[in-house]
Subunit: 146 residues, 2 copies
DNA sequence: CTTGACCTTCCCATGATGGCAAGCCCCATA
DNA sequence: TATGGGGCTTGCCATCATGGGAAGGTCAAG
């Protein structure tokens, strides 16, 4: 299986497969005589695992830990659960921060007539220094979706 | 006012003030004889506006639009509201994606004993190809907080 | 005049991803 | 057999907003 087929089979782009290899998340695969990477079912399995974890918002660092546990047949599942619960904590903190922003903005938008007039409570709020920084001054999207 | 004092007064780091200038978000300020940037109350006001908007999760691009409206005394506040509501839509989509992840993970964590044994439903789920990509395969934190 | 705090510019790193370009390889079809 | 198209390789650049650090100039207090 060449990289393109592996990408289709696992749902991980060829670009990212190379990147995961480069950063050590996955081991360098065999190469064909021409230098093509070749993947077997086991590698596809690993890539699928990685993609699932990415879909659940795990960072590559967390995925490295999860992969190590996955491969360790003696793992205590306590470890897995610990990682997951820490990640849930992260996600919930992010949700809270985003929810705080949303609430504030919704409130401001409701107070704004949305017509042709220039006086706008939203702008008034933005120019006031008091706009709460929230826990830790959190920024915008930077992603396609998250 | 030098850049350090402006940073303290506005809550925007000196580093970011220079960056905002470089990218055209703010105009280059006057310089002292020695080449030091000097800021007056009006600039501080603008920086404070920017910081408030960042705290509410607006991207620099959105902030540029908001700044233009802020400065336009003839602005129709409809425009402001439109930007804010689009941003709320973004935030809500992100919250939904994060919430979906959290729900799935919470579910999996509840199904995992968290003891010494190796069989873990979390890992089992990750290796299955079905782990729903969510709307658009959304990833992790990448921020300090959001 | 020295010292320390401040300023300047320039370069690099982050995290995960996509895009592009130059060049090699493989297979099927003419 | 030749050719074309698609796939593979590496390498570099961009994203977005932010921080870190180095090398060197400036300023004010002691």
């Amino acid at each position: 299986m060449n990289i393109g087929e592996a990408a289709r089979a696992s749902g991980v782009s060829a670009k990212m497969i190379r990147y995961y290899e480069e950063t050590g998340l996955i081991a360098p695969p065999e190469r064909s005589a021409a230098g093509y990477r070749t993947y077997g079912p086991s590698e596809i399995h690993t890539l699928t695992f990685i993609r699932s974890a990415r879909n659940l918002g795990f960072s590559m660092e967390e995925i490295a830990e999860l992969l190590a546990l996955w491969r360790d047949r003696q793992r205590p599942r306590r470890e897995v659960k610990r990682i997951v619960e820490a990640h849930i904590g992260d996600l919930e903190a992010r949700i809270r921060a985003l929810q705080d922003m949303t609430d504030t903005l919704r409130h401001l938008a409701n107070a704004c007539g949305g017509d042709d007039r220039p006086d706008c409570p939203i702008l008034k709020r933005l120019e006031a220094p008091g706009a709460a920084p929230l826990p830790d001054a959190p920024p915008p999207s930077r992603f396609g979706a998250i």
